[in-house]
């Protein structure tokens, strides 16, 4: 198993600003992912964070809006840029090793005002 620390757990931000969410895993993992989840709904994959290379984004998500870093095998960040109220959501980090279950951080509840 793996333990994932995600922070901040929640934040209230002004529109037009940016927020960086951090995800730290307690052991090396192959894959790290970032999801968005509206309350009461399922998880939508934003991107796969690739170590040492650019993230792979899903349709509808772009690097300028959601830049992602993954400098090593245990750490990744997601930045939500130029925020608007529509970005208010829960953001989840997950990690796994190939062909195993995914482990999740506790999520970041973002509110943009």
């Amino acid at each position: 198993s793996a333990v994932i620390s995600q922070k901040p757990s929640r934040d209230i931000c002004q529109r037009g600003t940016s927020l960086t969410i951090q995800c730290q895993v307690d052991s090396q993992v192959t894959m790290m992912f970032w999801y968005r989840q509206q309350p009461g709904q399922s998880l939508t994959l934003i991107a796969t964070a690739n170590q040492g290379s650019e993230a792979t984004y899903e349709s509808g998500f772009v690097i300028d809006k959601f830049p992602i870093s993954r400098p090593n095998l245990t750490f990744s960040t997601l930045t939500v840029s130029n925020m608007s109220p529509e970005d208010s959501s829960i953001y989840l980090c997950s990690a796994d090793r190939v062909e195993t279950e995914a482990f999740f951080g506790q999520g970041t509840r973002l509110t943009v005002v």
Partner: protein, 113 residues
């Protein structure tokens, strides 16, 4: 992309009784993994049970068991002796070596005392 369908947005069960949550999926792969995750109000995604497609035997974890029907592409979760702490959103998920984790829409389970 592979799809995961949970046709029950909400389910309710009396404490100590048994409930079954449904999940179907679509795939052309023969080797894959299926999961059930629980998400309580704390937002933490918790793995409940996993099933490898190559295994014929249904997975069991204490009060949680699955009915895996590979030909029918069905993967239901049975919760026996339901407890108040079982109340949560439950997500069915699929992944393979070629695909990232895909989640169903979720089923909100209410446990009545």
């Amino acid at each position: 992309a592979q799809t995961v369908t949970q046709s029950q947005p909400e389910m309710s069960v009396q404490e100590a009784e048994t409930v079954t949550l449904s999940c179907t999926y679509d795939t052309s792969e023969s080797d894959y993994y299926l999961f059930w995750y629980k998400q309580p109000p704390s937002r933490q995604m918790i793995l409940v049970i996993r099933q490898e497609a190559y295994k014929q035997q249904n997975a069991t974890e204490n009060r949680f068991s699955v009915n895996f029907q590979k030909a029918a592409k069905s993967f239901s979760l049975k919760i026996s002796d339901s407890q108040l702490g079982d109340a949560a959103m439950y997500f069915c998920a699929y992944r393979s070596a070629l695909d990232d984790m895909r989640f169903g829409a979720g089923t909100r389970l209410t446990v009545k005392p």
